[in-house]
Symmetry: C2
């Protein structure tokens, strides 16, 4: 039987990379949103997800067996505490409910490492680590997960929740760490930053997207960290970018203080992703960063704007 997926956020940073692996996994792909993805093989449904009636119409038209709901506000810097998080909780609930009521069977939504209490000295674990979100984004995602989980039980919906950690790669918006470092160092401008000793679990966006596709295709339920499982010092990423761009002289580590309470390490336990979903990353950090630098160079965006 052909499986049909309805994808939201398909033109977003992660979403754009989900279409290829979804197709490879045998999914027939439908997309809902404001703008169609640059892909002739998807069926596109124009939709304003903030409008309940649109969510219902698209769910009925798409008749999908699977829903991959990635759409959210992720404006760099602002999304952590944007009031739009409230609207996205509502839109996500409408989308999931409309999908279930149209006969859908399985939903996968995007969660975040910001649901966890940061600062633990062991990897963050889906079953054992404490949840204590400190931003409106983290609180909203955590609350959404609680509701969808309860609803899924009642509606006999198969439900998984992929917790995204840190990511980078071609197509990243300006205003985020890796994209800003590439553009600034590539433009031979000074890049003033922290000491970079904080360790973060970064994964290439193509791997993140493929992990979501595999999670969707699996029968795994509940929360699953979408991450590499290996945190690295942020300075090692910046130094690699500096080498790749030839901007070594411009990297100013230690010129900015780290925020108070900035956790030493944010690292995911990835047993569920590796052994239950069967995912392993394909990109190494060095090849992924080289690819990202090349992407920016190809666009001629060698100066910050």
């Amino acid at each position: 039987m052909t499986r049909r997926v309805l994808v939201t956020g398909a033109t977003g940073f992660i979403g754009q990379y989900t279409l290829l692996p979804l197709r490879e996994l045998g999914f027939n792909i439908h997309v809902a949103g404001r703008t169609p993805p640059d892909d002739p093989d998807v069926t596109f449904h124009t939709a304003n997800l903030f409008d309940q009636a649109d969510a219902v119409r698209v769910a009925r038209d798409a008749e999908a067996s699977h829903l991959l709901h990635l759409a959210w506000n992720t404006e760099p810097g602002r999304f952590w505490n944007s009031p739009l998080n409230l609207d996205w909780v509502g839109a996500s609930l409408s989308t999931v409910k409309a999908f279930a009521e149209a006969g859908g069977a399985r939903v996968v939504l995007a969660g975040t490492c910001a649901e966890y209490r940061w600062g633990a000295d062991t990897p963050l674990d889906e079953n054992r680590s404490e949840l204590a979100p400190e931003t409106l984004y983290g609180v909203s995602k955590d609350a959404l997960r609680r509701i969808v989980s309860s609803y899924a039980d009642l509606a006999s919906l198969s439900f998984a929740w992929g917790r995204i950690f840190f990511l980078y790669g071609p197509g990243e918006k300006p205003g985020r760490l890796v994209s800003d470092a590439i553009r600034t160092l590539g433009g031979k401008q000074p890049f003033a930053t922290t000491d970079g000793n904080q360790r973060r679990d970064f994964m290439h966006v193509e791997d993140v997207a493929r992990a979501f596709a595999l999670l969707l295709a699996s029968e795994v339920q509940g929360s699953v960290n979408i991450a590499s499982g290996k945190a690295v010092p942020v300075r090692s990423i910046l130094e690699a970018i500096a080498r790749e761009t030839g901007g070594q002289e411009m990297l100013r580590l230690g010129e900015r203080p780290r925020p108070a309470n900035d956790p030493a390490t944010i690292e995911a336990a990835v047993d569920r992703l590796r052994y239950e979903v069967g995912f392993t990353p394909r990109h190494t950090m060095s090849d992924g960063l080289a690819q990202s630098v090349k992407w920016w160079k190809d666009r001629g965006s060698d100066l910050p704007n």
Copy 2:
């Protein structure tokens, strides 16, 4: 300065009784909803709260300093696990956000004792008791509270959350314990029920409504139990109704099993309500039940339908 409140759910079981105490507390009253309340002194705004644009329009038109958001689906029996809980989370978030963005200062929303883990042998306490909702209604309310609390911090909104326990009184819908007992026993029909040994914290709906009005008028923030603080055996309520209706012969205690895991006691700690908000109930159980029986008699509804 005159305070102006925007009330949602003003024609609901609790909402209808909030208008008088709100007026006594000096509020100028605006109401948003589908149907106007039977009260010539309120300003009514027709609104579909599921429509974000309506929420924004009403918030701008009302220009209220205070929001008392009581609207929710409470269809007896069904509301515990109705998918409509998802829609009400979205509508509540839209309503609160629109109110804040229109310049509102203080919001009070209705929570529920179903946010707590039931089964504790001490009164349920806002600060110390564990939260572990087991129904979609409880999960949705708990999740909504988390989001609004985080949003209120960022938006400099004063926020309180009134956790409703058990209530009864004139105007209660059929399909709930007290309303069904009154109608069945009043109609001299057999009322088959449990042993009635479970103890529940019941409060008269007029007292619940007045507590919400006082909470709104106060500056108390966070979660506040809206309850009597004294759980009574359900059988004592049913026996009082039987006496009041003359249906003593028809009360069949012990004919139905109590649900598995039915908690022995659900009782609120009411220190916050009593000492911070300054509320004490006015109705005794016996006068409240007599008034409720009279209300049904006056309507001629002496038989179940």
